[in-house]
Symmetry: C2
Subunit: 449 residues, 2 copies
């Protein structure tokens, strides 16, 4: 199966197809070019040999759905991606116009080059490649390409729940986000979830003079801190009753995977901008993949400018961003937080600003190692498996709503600058991505599910 030969023969035409898609604006937040882009994606799917293609409406922007059916008995891969993009941001910071793709020094510059058009187009071009090389796919392939990812995938859960039968698959395969530094691919088996809450306390109608009213009117900053100290101990343990109850320890296999992951303490220090970080590889990945956080993203009360202002602030506010691990349920955790606050500081308000479920697919699934090998062979770089990313993505929609294992294999370079000016994708990553997808499809036919 000489996928690479087919890819080399089609380098220019594949790039032309990608450029055509990058040329088409599709800013979901501004509803700019969305439908035109959805129709273009349908064309690309059809043109690549996907027999059944349809536009499926949601309450906001349509989903592009495609299906290549081989046999009811064959394994099924569901490829997920999105055709919408972020707004371009400060236009004067772009070196070339965001919707006029341009190659400079081996990189494609355009809004969406990495996130996600370059990656989803690599998947589509992989079908074309596979068919040209082999004449037929060995497994069923479904495509779900949504238009609302950059506005929070607001309808994805309900869409998937509604079309569970149609979307049925053995594996959900996503290429999004950046690879490891130095162009090393990795296979991500999950994500941490998230619960974001704001606790606020308004104590007085206005700021009071700290001298003339000092000791008379209570200080909301102290009250909020006192509350926070009932929620977390000085050594960092979360004290909210039940918070840890459902936290799962890593499996032996997961710890083995971590042992194989790269780790360079100096790199970590640079990466976080803190020269004093001390931790071992095992600690690093355990803290990142298997332990929840209870982070303060912001605490504000009173005067924060230069010099002295002598007030008792009228209010105080803290934003807490919790990253959740398996099997913490954000709805349950929110109830625990609310109950805790109600018990310890009933006048503090609790507002939920966002949530996402944690998600993880088993490291023991038979296709994990073949997928790792496919990426390693295609990119020509040592490839790793990480049980979870530290951040959060809507992955539970696959593992929980659809009930299907899911892996994320990013094709974009680590410095893709997604969501920023001068977003880019290394040209060779586009082609290596195509090859990776071809190899994954080829491997899937061997898998006993």
């Amino acid at each position: 199966m000489d996928f690479r030969r087919v890819i080399e023969a089609n380098r220019e035409s594949y790039m032309d197809e990608l450029f055509e898609v990058l040329n088409q604006k599709s800013i979901s937040a501004q509803n700019d070019g969305i439908r035109e882009c959805a129709e273009l994606m349908m064309e690309k799917l059809k043109g690549s040999g996907i027999g059944h293609v349809e536009l499926m409406e949601t309450e906001i922007h349509p989903v592009v759905y495609g299906e290549y059916h081989v046999s009811d008995d064959a394994p099924t891969i569901l490829v997920y991606g999105h055709y919408d993009v972020q707004p371009p941001g400060p236009i004067e910071e772009w070196e070339s116009p965001p919707f006029e793709p341009m190659i400079r020094e081996g990189r494609i510059y355009a809004r969406g080059a990495g996130d996600n058009k370059g990656q989803i187009m690599a998947q589509i071009m992989a079908i074309r490649t596979y068919l040209e090389a082999e004449g037929e796919l060995p497994v069923n392939v479904k495509f779900l390409i949504e238009g609302e990812e950059e506005i929070g995938s607001v309808n994805l859960d309900s869409f998937v729940a509604q079309h569970r039968e149609k979307l049925k698959a053995d594996l959900v395969y996503t290429s999004d986000g950046p690879m490891l530094p130095n162009g090393h691919p990795y296979v991500l088996l999950g994500v941490r979830g998230m619960l974001y809450v704001e606790l606020a306390l308004r104590e007085a109608d206005f700021d009071n003079h700290s001298g003339n009213k000092g000791n008379i009117v209570p200080n909301p900053a102290w009250k909020l801190m006192d509350l926070l100290h009932t929620m977390r101990s000085a050594d960092g343990q979360v004290l909210i009753e039940g918070f840890h109850d459902t936290v799962k320890a890593p499996t032996e296999r997961e710890m083995e995977l971590i042992e194989k992951l790269p780790f360079d303490l100096e790199e970590v220090r640079r990466n976080v901008g803190h020269a004093g970080i001390e931790m071992t590889k095992a600690e690093y990945y355990r803290k990142l993949c298997f332990e929840p956080t209870f982070n303060i993203s912001g605490f504000t009360s009173g005067y924060g400018g230069e010099g002295a202002k002598t007030i008792i602030p009228k209010d105080a506010k803290v934003k807490i961003d919790m990253r959740l691990v398996m099997d913490q349920d954000p709805d349950v955790i929110f109830e625990l937080v609310r109950d805790h606050v109600a018990k310890h500081a009933p006048d503090v308000s609790v507002k939920k600003l966002g949530q996402m479920s944690p998600s993880r697919s088993s490291a023991d699934l038979p296709f994990i190692e073949p997928i790792r090998k496919a990426a390693e062979a295609s990119f020509g770089k040592k490839t790793f498996i990480q049980p979870s990313m530290g951040g959060s993505l809507p992955d539970a929609v696959w593992t929980k709503v659809l009930g299907t294992p899911s892996v994320v294999v990013p094709y974009a370079n680590v410095d893709e600058a997604n969501h920023s000016p001068n977003e880019n994708l290394v040209v060779e990553h586009f082609y290596s991505g195509i090859e990776t997808t071809c190899r994954v499809i080829a491997e899937m036919k061997h898998i006993k599910l």
Copy 2:
């Protein structure tokens, strides 16, 4: 001694003299009109019968000094005030120009009307009144009118220390600040001191992503809160070793004075904008006059805007404003704070942003009650004695540097709007202030020192 008759006979000419002073700009922060105003004040002192008048230089703006000497054996009152004013602020909010005094509805509107030209001119006009009524003063009177009060009285301590002999007195008498609500005068025997520090911690070079770096890089907000919780218990006790060691309990006489002070819980609640305040009169004044504060004027770390931002903030900062009571020394307390931080969180920086010593004159001094009666008779309103104000003024310069008891008897209405647009002084307060000073002078001759 019919001071009131003399005042009534001179209403217009006294007001003309005040208007002349209000007409003269004297913004110390901008060095605008300062020397002209100082010279005008000298004229006013001379014109009121003060025999010896001189301009005494400091490193910034000169002090106007005046002395009326009766006898080496007579008691001496040192009248303190200031001729400089705040900048006018947003000029469009003034209903009449700040340096063109105007009377509307029984109030004089001008920058400095209350703070402090109207009050210091009442003292000067009192000398003129007394001399017209009696031909001679019964006690020695000295005037120290500084030009740096609105920039923090930066040279007052050293000036007083340098001229201790010349300034020697039995009582320092100041009229500054507002009276109690509803036009009730009061005699203030002291002030709380202040120590203002900023604790800051910079943990990383930049804000980190709370997902991808969560649990890896420490959060400075937590660290600072953990430190703060070693400094103050959840029930509000300051835990810094030695902080309370020099705090003096109120005397029996001071508690008696408090018993006589007005207290209206509803008024307190309105005044602080907090309907839930619960306290007795004794608690209120004890907390305000005799207990230090450990107040957070500002805590800032990370994101404080609308919605969710998912970061681990790079730094955190807290501004702590401590009001100190007798005999807490701000220099000593600063050392205690610095040592405490060095012990518990050595990477947190400690910066001093301001300090002032607490000061209190004995409630047992023989002239306190006569002064109270003088104000009560002149203003025709029940008059109180408060052992200390909750706020801070440079009063220790008298009680500690000069070693002389000091009282503050404000003549300005509670809504004088000092430091704000439309600063004003109730016309009748000017005249009642003149009468109060005359009566205080008259009483002082009876005092056995």
